[in-house]
Symmetry: C2
Subunit: 318 residues, 2 copies
């Protein structure tokens, strides 16, 4: 006898995260019931990953379990929120116990690290896709948003840019090498939860880099009603990404690749000086400045300026 | 130029529900931010509908927009919760403005009726499927759950059973007739929100009938650690469903059909007498009794007893 929908949920997804805020009613009823502490607000986000669009066919299920949660945690990081609860809606062509076991291993390993509780889900039959709905907590009246960047604010990014895009390129070329750090950036992103928390009440705007630096920074610019110049030479690039720029012959390549899940944020120079030491572990780079003139300008050392007012689009770009 | 992901969300899904609890941050940032009133708990549920599994290919988009929200509202109804917020994750093979316009019309028409606010979403490319994550509010320390049915409690259902299943059968047979009330039951279910609210603090257990009466009542029995007898002749059946039973020659047919989205609940007879008048608009029928002996028994007028310990299963049944 094949497994029923109900035993899937029970077997693979019940009570594996034992840290964090326990739901009053958890998995197994029509709804979960949650108590939001009186001094907190709820931050909520949803992201879907579809096979063949957001991840390659026959992806490693354990890495996929990690990634689907990581991209949702990254949305909480961008708001400065602390992870609390998640629901998992998983559509599968058929039941594969080995696949489910590995997927749930990857999912719960990351959930546990962030004291996140799985509070519900739905298992359906169909082409493979996974939707996570994530909920985090914010102190009342505090949050990071895309709106709020002010003239003269510095523009900052954490970590390095373009590595996940390079990893995807390597994966497509068939180069699955466990020692490939770029591939690991793509397959196993590390959401910047504690960085987001550290930026609460300090950064004037924040976003996570999921669609690519130019697309995501443009979201900040649009929401804040401002423009920006990025100094190309200040962009934090690893040797491998610099090499790839030479190979493809496109200096703007790292601006258009997604999946980095670093944070991009703005604040006045004085504010940055105040928390520079606290932010040291996150390898923060100042890459530009907020300006009155709308649009995103990339300024090269040669004095040349490129305009990048668009980014990756799920429907327009393969 | 085709529409971008961002303009889809903006064009079809922003600020169309103007009633209800406004989010502090709504659609368009990395997360929505919500204030849960201090005297309330949050009820949360997720349901996915996949084309070809949960709805027929080429379904009417306006009815689909209604249905995907209705099945999620029904989960809130089963907990006694009041609708507040929802997120919509929609996966589409390609952008079809006419389809999106009709889908959002159906979705928002029902959302408005329940003062529900759309607070976020994700639009991705892939085989058509829709996931809604819904959030409702409950007074602190109050909720209906599947657990709690007690020995001797009556078993009640609202409305009629089997009509949606018959509607699906008619639709599959190609009988799209706008006057077919069974088809309408299937395509445009009416979630029993006010009934669920009326049952808070009164019913000992509650579930919505989505997978079929036998499957859903079995969930109550299992969660409550009890068994039940249902008196077949008390099942509320319309003339059309009675006719279909004769056609298919299976008296148990209405127990296995899903999608009714009526409520099934339990309570002592004395409690029912106390709210019988209040429940009159919902056409409540007492169909059986909770017993110590595990399992679900269907008792016929002939004295014959059938045992139904299983129900519809997304992976086992076509």
């Amino acid at each position: 006898m094949s497994l029923s929908e109900f035993s899937i949920i029970e077997e693979f997804f019940t009570s594996k995260s034992n840290a964090g805020l326990c739901p009053i009613v958890g998995i197994g009823d029509d709804c979960a019931v949650l108590d939001v502490p009186a001094d907190k607000q709820l931050a909520v986000s949803t992201d879907t990953l579809v096979e063949g669009v957001h991840f390659l066919p026959k992806s490693d299920p354990e890495l996929l379990g990690h990634k689907v949660l990581a991209v949702n945690l990254s949305d909480l990081a961008a708001m400065g929120a602390t992870p609390a609860w998640a629901s998992l809606a998983i559509t599968l062509p058929s039941i594969d116990k080995a696949w489910l076991s590995l997927f749930s291993k990857g999912f719960f390993s990351l959930a546990k690290r962030h004291s996140l509780q799985l509070i519900g889900g739905d298992t359906t039959r169909g082409p493979l896709s996974i939707t996570v709905n994530i909920m985090g907590l914010l102190p009342k009246h505090q949050r990071l948003t895309r709106a709020g960047a002010q003239l003269g604010d510095g523009i900052y990014v954490s970590g390095f840019i373009g590595n996940a895009g390079l990893g995807l390129k390597n994966a497509r070329a068939g180069g699955f090498d466990a020692r490939d750090k770029d591939l690991l950036s793509y397959l196993k992103p590390n959401p910047k939860i504690t960085l987001g928390q550290a930026l609460l009440n300090v950064a004037s705007s924040c976003i996570d880099i999921s669609d690519g630096l130019s697309a995501d920074l443009n979201h900040i610019l649009k929401a804040s009603g401002v423009g920006a110049t990025v100094w190309h030479e200040e962009l934090p690039l690893t040797h491998s990404v610099r090499q790839n720029i030479e190979e493809v012959g496109d200096v703007l390549w790292p601006y258009s690749t997604g999946d980095d899940y670093e944070l991009c944020f703005t604040m006045p120079d004085a504010a940055y000086k105040g928390i520079q030491e606290k932010l040291a572990p996150y390898q923060i780079s100042k890459i530009g400045v907020i300006e009155r003139q709308k649009g995103l300008r990339i300024k090269m050392a040669t004095g040349e300026v490129a305009t990048l007012n668009k980014g990756y689009d799920h429907f327009n770009v393969e």
